[in-house]
Symmetry: C2
Subunit: 174 residues, 2 copies
Amino acid sequence: MGFWKTWFSTPESVATAKTPFEEQTVEAGSNSSSSSDRIVFSTERDIDLYELEELCDAVGWSRRPLRKVKKAIEHSFLVASMWQVRGNQKRLIGFARATSDHAFNATIWDVVVHPDFQGKGLGKALMKYVLKKLRSEEISNVTLFADPHVVDFYRTMGFMADPEGIKGMFWYPH
Amino acid sequence: MGFWKTWFSTPESVATAKTPFEEQTVEAGSNSSSSSDRIVFSTERDIDLYELEELCDAVGWSRRPLRKVKKAIEHSFLVASMWQVRGNQKRLIGFARATSDHAFNATIWDVVVHPDFQGKGLGKALMKYVLKKLRSEEISNVTLFADPHVVDFYRTMGFMADPEGIKGMFWYPH
């Protein structure tokens, strides 16, 4: 019980951005990005679903019906996207979203960074952005389900696996 | 990846109740309930928060601000309650709720059965009711975070811990 309840007993007040777009300085390796590139984060939900599908294709995810993806985005508590901006053009290079009860718990789903932009600290930057947004809403439990190969990545972000023996469980039909 | 995507590829159509209240025959031991008792399940959200707090107190949960509990209930995808009905009186004896993106994922939180009614199969009946409701909405991933002493209970309900090495993880501030 203590574990569930002690988080954020004195929540830090984090200012939220006034506009959905927010620029952040990210240490992205210079090898694939010119000096004129900017990395921009957004909570804007009006994402081109085909562009998102392309991003998910790039990391090998199975395709999902766009109708359902649209519904899931509409009903997510937080939708976070990461963009490479060059002059007037922007390219979707990262995405994450979270479900929540708007009070206690949030669960992060569908975290993706385009392979061309992996290994540059951008996944970490995206997650930091997501966590900052969730904390600013006074969400006290932030959870996710991590595939084995990203468990260590989330550990470095401060996530704990099975704290106090609490197990993530999944139900599927018999 | 296959694990996340293969569930419910052919979703079974489950009829939802027309009214929020639904009676179910539950094999509850006869030692504490008279033959005139009925166990009733509901998805009605208009739950007396003090009655809910009393139920959570009875299982030893830490108190939470009612303002936040109210908000969490409002923003949950599913709110399930279990009642003992005697004549014109009903008593809240169980509760569970789920967050969801209304499309792919749902996460069950705050599952509680009053100690006087534990060990009678009512927790199982409540969870069956929750799962039926979630399936009727075509939710394909049903997840939860189980405290160590209830992991086996959820296993008997068909939940799997760490399937394919997927770990439930929690974030807390540094």
